[in-house]
């Protein structure tokens, strides 16, 4: 009789492997320390939206301060967070990185300010050993902020632009070339949301002005306006400012006669769609006719490998032809 042999189940062996590699790759990722608030400073390389500084809270806002009104308003806006920190402490740790013997803030400015107001001495923090690169930094700030209800569309957009620029730089391409799919993956949001952000990022100056002032807050509406033809945008913006819903905006867009040359997105070149056909014969006729023309005869060599029974091959050839004609 053959000797019995036993084996660890495949999925268990695999799960053990996942466990070990995840532990090794993410060591320290959730480490939280309690650090003194006095040792936290702002990151000078990281632009901020608040005027209120740590000194203002420790010393009181000075009456002669130019931003007295604004700072006082900001401090008042922190009241409910301060109250919750007084009662329950800071639940979500802030993120900092070590800088000499200080800590520089990456995320959690409001929590830090409110903790000072709540007269706390220290705060729970995830401490990174060095300043993360710009992309990672922006992403941490994005993730920290995504849940916040008080963040305006404008603030989101500014954060997003930072991420996009850092990402584009890392990938060595232009920020405008980043697709909604990439955006979705980068931010961990749905493709639809990625598409919306992509449109809003391309918003016209007029539209941006209204987003910045907070008059347009809704991302779906902003995206819809941004992707509409330029001629229609101010009508739609006006309707939006007057309180139109998204479906009302869509209705306006449908009922306005559109022009055939659709100018598309802001800073994108207007394009002409040459239409499509199911007939390979029609495509063949067009391509041949063009290539027979005196000025284009020299291009013939480039098109002798088209497979005329294959739609894909013809489409590619057609695209190439259009490109060459544009250059000519």
């Amino acid at each position: 009789m053959a000797k019995k042999s036993f084996k660890i189940r495949g999925n268990l062996a695999e799960a053990l492997g996942d466990t070990v590699s995840s532990a090794r790759n993410n060591a320290g990722e959730l480490h939280v320390e309690i650090i003194p608030l006095r040792k936290i400073e702002l990151d000078p390389d990281n632009p901020r939206d608040l005027a209120l500084s740590f000194e203002d809270l420790y010393q009181g806002i000075l009456k002669k301060d130019d931003s007295f009104g604004r700072k006082t308003a900001e401090q008042e806006a922190l009241a409910s967070l301060t109250k919750s920190i007084k009662e329950q402490g800071v639940i979500n740790p802030i993120v900092v990185y070590k800088y000499n013997d200080q800590y520089r803030l990456i995320a959690g400015e409001r929590r830090t300010l409110a903790s000072i107001l709540a007269e706390k001495a220290d705060i729970p923090a995830r401490v990174l050993t060095s300043r993360p690169d710009q992309l990672k930094l922006s992403l941490i700030q994005w993730i920290e902020n995504i849940e916040r209800e008080d963040l305006t569309l404008w603030e989101r957009l500014r954060n997003l632009e930072k991420i996009l620029n850092a990402y584009a730089e890392a990938k060595q391409k232009k920020a405008t070339e980043i697709s909604p799919t990439e955006l979705g993956q980068l931010l961990g949001c749905s493709l639809q949301q990625g598409v919306n952000y992509r449109h809003v990022l391309n918003a016209s100056d007029e539209l941006r002005k209204h987003i910045q002032s907070g008059e347009i807050k809704n991302i779906e509406k902003a995206a819809f306006i941004a992707k509409s033809p330029a001629t229609l945008q101010s009508t739609l913006t006006q309707a939006c400012l007057n309180g139109s819903t998204l479906s009302e905006l869509k209705k306006i867009s449908r009922e306005t006669p559109s022009i055939n040359t659709k100018p598309g997105r802001h800073n994108a070149q207007p394009k002409i769609n040459l239409g499509s056909t199911e007939s390979t014969k029609v495509a063949k006729t067009i391509i041949h006719t063009v290539l027979e023309h005196e000025s284009f005869k020299h291009l013939n060599d480039r098109f002798n490998s088209i497979r005329w029974d294959d739609h894909k091959s013809i489409a590619m050839a057609f695209r190439q032809l259009v490109k060459l004609l544009e250059q000519a």
Partner: protein, 290 residues
């Protein structure tokens, strides 16, 4: 710094207490370290081995520590004379007990109090249970008094086991080479992973070893051991030497007035030699780390 070792697995009967005893006695008797034994298991087997526990008069079946030898009812009016590691979860003082070994002291279990700590579910309280033992072993007086602390944990993934893992510098997972036991290894490695995430990257928890225990000369045990030893993920953690199933280990647990350590057996005794070779490897891994 004091080394703090947690023996942990969520499955019962794998050899946590046997490992705890073996490591405590190797550190004290062979290496001459000052050892503190801590028993977090409400079943109190680790404590029972070193002390004559009493049955809890209220919660039948549970055990309570005996009266402390230094207890004087005339002087200690605010103390009932018993001290358990469970006291730290109630913010009370703890007083270690001497054992029959001059370098080993123990903070025994108190079944009912530990069960209460294990049953905690409220978040704020849970955090206290998780971190209290860590705070305790890091106290300067504890660090000064002891070189080596061994923590025995209950067979669970509950708050007490987590407390033991959070408190330790090094973790050992004893396991039989059987199907369900290897599931237990996986369970414990989840806690090790979580703790690895939570500690600073420059000072991680050390998984000092997965120890094959109660091994018999059968292909089931041999196959599982060989596979754990060859899997990329576990091969570095599995200790090369095994502890075999032997009657002597059971016999050593039956004590008269004082337990007899495996390291007090004749030098050429097979069980002593086996335990020495395993402890040597584990200690090397513990002392080479950090």
């Amino acid at each position: 710094m004091t080394k703090v070792i947690a023996n942990a697995t969520n499955k019962g009967g794998e050899g946590k207490t046997t490992m705890s005893i073996m490591l405590a006695e190797y550190a004290a008797l062979v290496m001459g370290k000052n050892v503190l034994a801590i028993d977090l298991d409400p079943q109190a087997n680790f404590s029972k081995y070193y002390l004559n526990l009493e049955y809890d008069p209220v919660y039948k079946g549970g055990k309570v520590p005996p009266l402390h030898p230094e207890y004087n009812p005339d002087e200690d009016v605010s103390w009932d004379g018993r001290s358990s590691i469970a006291n730290i979860f109630y913010g009370e003082e703890v007083i270690p007990y001497p054992t029959g070994f001059k370098n080993i002291e123990i903070l025994p279990a108190h079944s009912n109090k530990l069960q209460e700590a294990e049953a905690v579910t409220k978040n704020e309280v849970l955090e206290k249970v998780h971190l209290q033992l860590k705070r305790f072993v890091q106290l300067p007086e504890v660090q000064n008094e002891y070189d080596f602390i061994v923590i025995d944990t209950p067979p669970s993934k509950g708050p007490l086991t987590i407390a033991g893992i959070k408190a330790c510098t090094d973790m050992v997972i004893p396991s039989q080479m059987e199907e369900d036991s290897i599931d237990g290894i996986y369970g414990m490695m989840q806690l090790w992973k979580q703790e690895t995430y939570a500690r600073p990257a420059e000072n991680p928890i050390n998984l000092a070893g997965i120890l094959a225990n109660r091994v018999r000369e059968v292909s089931l045990h041999k196959n599982f051991f060989d596979q754990l030893k060859s899997l990329e993920s576990t091969k570095d953690y599995v200790i090369d030497k095994k502890i075999k199933e032997r009657v002597i280990y059971g016999e050593l647990r039956v004590k008269e007035d004082r337990p007899k350590s495996v390291f007090e057996l004749p030098q050429d005794h097979i069980a002593r030699k086996e335990c020495e070779s395993v402890c040597k490897i584990i200690m090397k891994r513990i002392y080479n780390h950090g």
